[in-house]
Point group: C2
Chain length 194, copies 2
């Protein structure tokens, strides 16, 4: 696989870095000063909007740059769950998701700061079926510290996997980046080639 652009990832998430590495991409992590406050209530629009803002909020000087911005939320029963503020909120998020089917949405934007090429934004949805968790199981998971930096207060790629009966969609989307849709878009936009 070869790249036509130097890729910049506007994300602090170690999981997104891991996914790009697994895909075989070479990239540089950059920070973004995007405002993440929004009044948007539809999860697919919200993640697309924030992914665009994160990509636009970077300061990359490379004239050839292609910047990836992304945002992930969990949606259940009309509510949007981001990262929990504290352990109590983590508990109530996990209690709410327990025994239910929720959706993970990740929005992704490919942005070309110095090119005559409009940004490309898309989102991917994955359904996640939770087993019923006991309070002891929720508390034991919160003790690991894993919930605190994750949308919906869980990470599918760790010990929490044992509570997930089934997913329907792209596994990596639940981790934070839809590997398949991103790969397809990068090919379509001639950013990578085999």
């Amino acid at each position: 696989m070869q790249q036509n652009y130097p890729i910049f990832l506007a994300s602090k998430s170690p999981r997104r870095r891991e996914i790009l590495s697994i895909m075989g991409l070479t990239f540089t992590v950059v920070s973004s000063d995007a405002d993440e406050v929004t009044s948007e209530t539809e999860p697919e629009k919200l993640v697309e909007e924030l992914s665009l803002r994160k990509a636009l909020g970077t300061r990359v000087t490379d004239p050839e740059a292609m910047v990836i911005g992304s945002d992930t939320v969990v949606s259940y029963a009309g509510r949007i769950l981001g990262k929990p503020k504290d352990e109590e909120e983590a508990f109530s998020m996990l209690k709410m998701l327990s025994g239910n089917v929720s959706s993970v949405y990740t929005g992704v934007t490919l942005f070309f700061p110095y090119k005559d090429k409009p940004p490309v934004t898309f989102h991917t949805r994955t359904e996640v079926v939770f087993d019923t968790l006991t309070d002891a199981e929720i508390l034991s998971y919160i003790k690991t510290g894993e919930p605190m930096d994750k949308a919906g207060a869980y990470g599918i790629q760790g010990t929490f996997g044992k509570h997930i009966i089934e997913i329907r969609g792209d596994y990596y989307n639940v981790m934070g980046l839809p590997m398949h849709d991103l790969y397809k878009k990068l090919k379509e936009e001639n950013i990578i080639f085999i």
Copy 2:
């Protein structure tokens, strides 16, 4: 999480070891001299039978032992795919799965060599939706060497993930052990408790 039994894993697969570790289990890897030749043609029966044979084929001396045996195959259009014999077979397996929906079956047996307790055997199925792969993409993947020790000639947890549109079921089952069903069974059989 605590364990009522010392757990022994009858598998050479580094992925199965990783899954048990992620689950938070303490275990010892043991070899098995099970005969893996079978005339069974139904994937669910085949993986259950081989998981039982692998568990029975170990020589564990701990009187408290609980042994986990398991076997994974890919099933598509009435054919059962194990590990490819060579790169040509890997190519033809991936070419066959390309653009299609196939199933991964993993059989698991919990065996208690010195207890008055019959073995527990079950299987889990996950559907996997492949994108259409070009020959160049298949060859590029074969070059990584990843297909050779994996049923169906691919590993979902690596770079091949970019070719998978969607899974329906337990992701870890595709990796080699159904984390959720295994956790549930270990609780039901009082092997672990929270």
